[in-house]
């Protein structure tokens, strides 16, 4: 499903020094797996997630998703991949503030299908399934943090992706909400979606079938 081969990522910081965020990372994730990558802040977790999600070209190495070397293809291919095959969930939700819950969830489907009506129907069905049927027309600012994250998860799955990448999805949630959200990921995984979560919390990571540790840009226990 996903394979990273000797991926290295280097940046130039403000002092023009080269910083290595990821060093020779190799990782294989099978279809339908639920993987957590745990590491402290600055360990390169988010960088790894962005590279995996076709958002950031690595300095070295290859990334294969469903057998395709994604960085061997043009940017438009990767954009299509993110739209149709990958779902992102972020710590800060990244919902569009001027859209209501329904429109936020429907947005990727509108881009894919071109039909606002179909996208809205699907978004409504998802939101109801995730217990947000009473919040359809509420703006982001009117939702609780837990509800916002559930809306973000709905958005990530509306195009029925093969892979969900979640960057500290429970970072802003209380323990009760964390439990609820992680159960949602587990449920999505049971429905066949491959889930990769990066987190700094071992407790959150424990919801996954496989836990990997990343320190100083190096994957500790092998991929």
């Amino acid at each position: 499903m996903l394979e990273l081969n000797s991926v290295t990522q280097q940046f130039r910081n403000n002092q023009k020094e080269t910083v290595t965020a990821l060093s020779d990372v190799s990782l294989k994730v099978q279809e339908g797996e639920f993987v957590s990558i745990v590491g402290p802040s600055g360990s390169g977790k988010s960088t790894l997630l962005f590279i995996t999600g076709a958002l950031l070209r690595p300095t070295k190495g290859e990334v294969y998703l469903m057998g395709e070397d994604i960085y061997a293809h043009p940017a438009s291919y990767r954009a299509g991949l993110r739209l149709e095959r990958i779902g992102f969930v972020f710590q800060t939700f990244n919902l569009i503030p001027y859209l209501n819950a329904l429109d936020n969830v429907a947005l990727p489907a509108v881009l894919t299908t071109g039909s606002r009506r179909k996208a809205t129907e699907k978004a409504e069905e998802l939101l109801r399934r995730f217990g947000l049927g009473h919040r359809l027309n509420h703006r982001v600012s009117e939702l609780s943090v837990g509800e916002r994250q559930r809306v973000a998860i709905c958005r990530s799955v509306i195009n029925e992706p093969a892979l969900i990448l979640a960057d500290e999805p429970t970072g802003n949630l209380d323990p009760e909400m964390t439990h609820e959200v992680m159960n949602l990921f587990a449920e999505l995984n049971r429905n066949g979606i491959t889930v990769i979560i990066v987190t700094h919390e071992e407790a959150v990571a424990s919801y996954a079938e496989r836990v990997l540790h990343l320190r100083g840009g190096i994957l500790q226990n092998g991929g």
Binding site: S46, T47, F50, G53, L55, L56, A75, S76, A79, G80, L81, R82, L83, E84, F88, F90, T92, N94, L95, I96, P97, Y98, L99, D103, L107, P108, V110, L111, G114, S115, R116, A119, R155
Partner: protein, 369 residues
Amino acid sequence: MNLQILPLLLKETRFRWVVHLLTVCLIAFVVSLLVTQGSLNRSAEDKVNELTHKLGRGMLVVPEDTDLQQFYLMRYGAETMPEDYSDRIESSHLGKHIQVIEPRLYGNLTVQGMDVILVGRRLQFPVSSDSRHELVVIGSGLARRLGLSSGDNLVVNNHKLRVFAIVDPPPKGYDMAIFAPLKTAQRILGTPGRINALHLSGCWCELDVPALAAKVESILPGTMAITVDGMAKAQIEIKSTMEQYSVIFWIAGGVLVTASIAFLLFYLIHKGRREIGLLLSIGMSPGRIVIKNIIISVATAVAGALAGYILSIPLMSQAGRMFMRVSLSPSAQVLPWLVAVITGAALLASFIPSWYISRLDPTKLLREE
């Protein structure tokens, strides 16, 4: 561009309506000034053409102190010249070039509370059986207002007049005029033996017209001779100067519109950095985001242009009354220029923000707090 994304644009516009409204207002203000200036230019040109057409190949001789601007606005002063100037020019060596010499005395009167123009000229009327009333011809507007018809009497400045005929339609601008024989007009205005205009016409195509005017002025001391040729030259110079200023004015307007749209786009990009990061992360291509921005900039510019054109209607009416003493409306001929300038400005304005978007790194945008 997927048209289904348009509701997203509308919602974004509604969410940040203040900055959109401010931009539209600024563009509307600039556009209204451009339209007003352009239309005033054109109206001034039309007015000159009309005047030139009126004068044709004639020459107008007036007392040298005459305020020409007021004269053309039909507000006549007290300046006069001797009536026999017409004979003097006829008997001069220039007489052979002049086919028609027409002495006139123009004046402003108030008749029963209404402003009336008196035109004294050489008129031939049948001899009146009633020697107490002098015969005149009046414009149809005056006849209507005073309820007069042919044969009716009226009193002007204690002079008893009888309407010999009504001119319908009257010459342009003479709707409220009384046309009287020169002597009658002189009596009414209290200027016996005086005139304030001498209309000359002839064929002087082969003559040096400015030199001819100078000769006329030397034969008739204390006068100035105005020719179409001189007026046309003066107007061409004025028009050329106005056009130079117009170009500067339009360039300045274009720059201002471009800057305001560019500012709007940069503001939207700045405020919506995380949204752009999100849109890129969910698979919207930078090209689509660029098109979205171009739509915003063109729509804002068009909205501003329309608002500006509408705003220019009262503005022009006011400016026309102030500068040209007529009520003007925006010229439709300005519209193609306006559309070209505004669309160009909008496209130009979105160029740098679009390039900026294409350089944005979504991973950095998504990490921003």
